[in-house]
Structure formats: structure tokens, C-alpha cells
């Protein structure tokens, strides 16, 4: 075996590179994997998560009837567009949805702190939604009933719970598909509410 130009110095470099390249690749891969696992733990990274197509846009046109028995007004796009000068949340929930139970205390806390939360009861029997809210409290300032789930599709919803954050101008800035846990509340919702205030 004879190389064309057996330059010993170049050959040594090549051997060193061949040794170091896999090590560097393994190191980078390990760092990436660690970041991924950490993100999974804190909820920053969700491999099944899909960005909302509505980010940076105004909410779609809709008008939903109120839920009888709550005394709350219904919800329409106009209520979100006029803006109260403060950021607000739009929360899709259902009484049959287990993660909604998990996030409910966080929504109640936000409501107590004075954050405006608009509710949409998704594909739920009105009596069941009412029972859910009577048992756990009502964090909503307005509540629309979307029994056929058509308005939810206009929002690009693909499951409950989902929560959208609108800035004070009524533009959608953030969407959480899944429950707003205590971690999500502390690490994402609270800073975002401050940023878009």
C-alpha cells in the first residue's frame, strides 16, 4: 500500500482528526440529548407539541352563547379585540377532560390575581360544564359554549385544555396545548403576562 504523497505531518493530523471527530460528535449528541431531557422535565420542550398557526394574529371571528346558570356573559371575538388594556387568557376546557382538573387551581389563582380569563366550554353538555364549575369554582370573566366544537377548529384547537395568551392589543402571542401546571404558570404564563402588559 503506497499513498500518493505520504506526507507524515498531514497523515498525523488526519489520524488525530479521525480520532477526535467521533468524540466531538458524541459530545455534541450528549449535550443535545441532555438539553432535550431537561426541556421535557420543565415542559419547555414537547416533542408532540405543534406551534399554533394563530400566533401573531388576531383571534378568528366567532360568537358563542353563554352558559345558563353561571350568570356570565357569552364570548365573541369582539370581546377579545377591543382589549381591556391588559393581556388576557382564553381557556378551552371540558368537564370530561382530566388535565382540565389539574390546571383548574392555577386558573383560579390567576383569576384571584386579577388576570382576565375567558372560558370556552368545548364539546361538553351545558349541565356538566355547570357542575364542573360549581364544584371547582369559576375563574372566567366570560364564558362561551361551543358544543359542536366548530369555533375551536377556527382557533386550531386539537385537544383540551388549551390556553391562549392575548396581548393588550388583542393579538395572540402564546398557546399552551395541555394543562397549565404550576411550572408552566411560573416559568411561562407569569413572565408573558408581564411582558405583554
Amino acid at each position: 500500500m503506497s499513498e500518493v504523497a505520504p506526507n507524515p505531518e498531514a497523515a498525523a493530523w488526519r489520524r488525530r482528526a479521525l480520532l477526535l471527530a467521533p468524540l466531538a460528535a458524541a459530545g455534541l449528541g450528549g449535550a443535545g440529548f441532555y438539553a432535550m431531557l431537561r426541556g421535557l422535565g420543565t415542559g419547555d420542550y414537547d416533542p408532540r407539541g405543534v406551534p399554533s398557526a394563530l400566533i401573531g394574529k388576531a383571534p378568528p371571528d366567532f360568537s358563542l352563547p353563554p352558559l345558563d346558570g353561571t350568570g356570565l356573559p357569552g364570548l365573541s371575538a369582539a370581546d377579545l379585540r377591543t382589549g381591556t388594556g391588559k393581556p388576557l387568557l382564553v381557556n378551552f376546557f371540558a368537564s370530561w377532560c382530566a388535565p382540565c382538573v389539574i390546571e383548574h387551581p392555577q386558573l383560579m389563582r390567576l383569576a384571584r390575581e386579577g388576570v382576565g380569563i375567558m372560558g370556552v366550554a368545548y364539546k361538553d353538555k351545558p349541565a356538566d360544564s355547570l357542575g364542573f364549575l360549581r364544584q371547582r369554582g369559576t375563574p372566567y370573566a366570560r364564558l362561551g359554549v361551543d358544543q359542536p366544537g366548530r369555533v375551536a377548529i377556527d382557533w386550531g384547537l386539537y385537544g383540551v385544555p388549551e390556553t391562549y395568551l392575548l396581548d393588550k392589543g388583542g393579538i395572540i402571542r402564546w398557546r399552551m396545548a395541555g394543562p397549565v401546571t404550576e411550572e408552566i404558570l411560573a416559568q411561562q404564563v407569569t413572565p408573558l403576562l408581564r411582558r405583554y402588559a
Binding site: 406551534p51 398557526a53 382557533w155
Partner: protein
């Protein structure tokens, strides 16, 4: 036995979720169009199925919307755009070509090019390596001796 089972598997057609005849359009041409559109749309809940293949609630709602719009006479593009506007690129099983998806679409070409370069490099090295080894001084002397003897 296993072979028969495999053959049986091959013979089985894909199970379509639109089993409910009430959901199908009465016009077969429109129903066929709706199915073609539906196969382009991802079910956001199951993520690896089209809405035509999925049993999820949301997939059924989207199938209904697609059929409604087809029945209204909307062109295929408009129906796809309607869903795309709401659910983003991810809902399209064939994502559009743009800056964010360039790597996705370019990957086959990049892989092919990489493979071709690798093969070329290996061939070249092989050609260099497989040339006949040079004769040593002793062999050369012996060759000269032999050819000298032939000429005598």
C-alpha cells in the same frame, strides 16, 4: 403458516375510518374528492394518520368540514387552505416548500450527493492503492538478469 398469514396481510386493504355512511357525500365524485383532500391532512391528535384514516373526534369534525366545503363547490386548494390557516404547516402531510422546510425537502438530494461523493472518494483511493506494487531493487536486478538471459 406464517407465509400464508403474510399473504393474507398483503391482501388486506387499508381500513378507512369513514365507516359511517351518514358522513359520506351522496355524490360519489364529490366523496372521492373529499377523500383525496382528507388524505393530505394530518390528524392532529394521532399525528401519524390522515384524517381519513383516523378515528379521533377531531378528525371526524375535520372530515365533515372538508365534505361540507366540497359539497359547496369549493376547489381543493381552498379547502386545504382553510385547514392550513387554522392548523399550520403541520396539518399538511405534504408540507409546503419554504425556508423552514428547505432542509426537510432537500434531505434526499443532500443524502444522494453525500453518498455519491463518498463512493467517488472510495473509488479513487482504491485505484491508487490497487496499482501493482513497485519492484524492490533485488527484484529489478533479477528481472534485468532474466531478460538479459533471454536475449542471449
Amino acid at each position: 403458516m406464517i407465509r400464508w398469514l403474510l399473504l393474507l396481510l398483503l391482501a388486506a386493504g387499508p381500513a378507512l375510518a369513514v365507516g359511517d355512511p351518514a358522513d359520506q357525500l351522496p355524490n360519489p365524485a364529490q366523496e372521492e374528492r373529499a377523500r383525496v383532500i382528507g388524505r393530505e391532512l394530518r390528524c392532529m391528535v394521532c399525528q401519524n394518520q390522515s384524517i381519513e384514516d383516523s378515528d379521533a373526534d377531531l378528525a371526524r369534525d375535520l372530515r365533515r368540514i372538508v365534505r361540507e366545503q366540497v359539497a359547496q363547490g369549493k376547489p381543493d386548494e381552498a379547502v386545504l387552505t382553510f385547514v392550513h390557516e387554522r392548523y399550520g404547516d403541520f396539518v399538511l402531510l405534504k408540507p409546503p416548500f419554504k425556508a423552514a422546510t428547505a432542509l426537510l425537502w432537500g434531505m434526499p438530494a443532500i443524502a444522494l450527493l453525500g453518498g455519491a461523493l463518498l463512493i467517488r472518494g472510495m473509488r479513487r483511493r482504491q485505484r491508487v492503492a490497487s496499482g501493482p506494487p513497485e519492484l524492490t531493487q533485488a527484484e529489478r536486478d533479477r528481472l534485468a538478469q532474466l531478460s538479459g538471459r533471454l536475449r542471449e
